[in-house]
Amino acid sequence: MEKTWTLAKAWYYNRMDPNYRGRSAAEAREIFREVGLSSGFWFLDSAE
């Protein structure tokens, strides 16, 4: 659960920030990388 919690914090911490304007695929990938999720499962490009 610890990794899921870490991912939840990284993914959602700013969802209610009035300045939140969504997130790009590159930003999403960076979040996954930062929490140690680096396999192809977490890539947007199926070729990766």
């Binding site: 659960m1 610890e2 899921t4 919690w5 991912l7 939840a8 914090k9 993914w11 959602y12 911490y13 969802r15 209610m16 009035p18 939140y20 304007r21 969504g22 999403a28 996954f32 192809g40 499962f41 977490w42 890539f43 947007l44 490009d45 199926s46």
Partner: protein, 152 residues
């Protein structure tokens, strides 16, 4: 008064939806949103639909009811989160943790996981998660999440 851009309007509508969920434990209707933001209901409906198209909200298929404002769910689910004197439904196990994350608050989570229907109780306190160890499985790879968000 300067006219607000469509982009700004959409993000204002989205923020209102989230704040309404936090305060009322359910998403607002089109009429409630229009009334709160001083919009024509038709304009509020268009904003909901645009937010759905850009994945900023997820509408119930075939309607303009908010089904998901991640991590919150607009419908009952097996993931119930209690925090700050309120109770919310989360879309999935990950989102159940997403609610204390987005609110930066302690929480208690009551969940029923799909494998054995066993009830699980977790808590988040002082930014740490406590409770029994469970495995969280993502059904689809990230690139396919938006093909079927309800399944994901």
């Amino acid at each position: 008064m300067e006219p607000i851009s469509r982009e700004s309007l959409d993000w204002s509508v989205r923020l209102f939806v989230y704040r309404h969920i936090v305060d009322h434990e359910r998403p607002p209707t089109i009429a409630e949103t229009a009334d709160a933001i001083h919009l024509d209901p038709y304009e509020a409906r268009l904003a909901f639909e645009r937010l759905h198209e850009r994945h900023a909200l997820f509408l119930e298929p075939g309607s303009v009811s908010v089904r998901m404002a991640h991590p919150f769910s607009g419908v009952r689910t097996p993931f119930h989160v209690h925090t700050g004197g309120h109770s919310y439904w989360a879309n999935c196990a990950w989102d159940a943790l997403g609610i204390p994350a987005v609110l930066a608050a302690d929480a208690t989570i009551e969940a029923t996981f799909s494998d054995d229907r066993e009830a699980v109780r977790l808590s988040v306190k002082n930014q740490r998660v406590h409770g029994q160890e469970v495995l969280v499985r993502f059904a689809l790879p990230f690139r396919r999440w938006y093909e079927d968000l309800i399944l994901t």
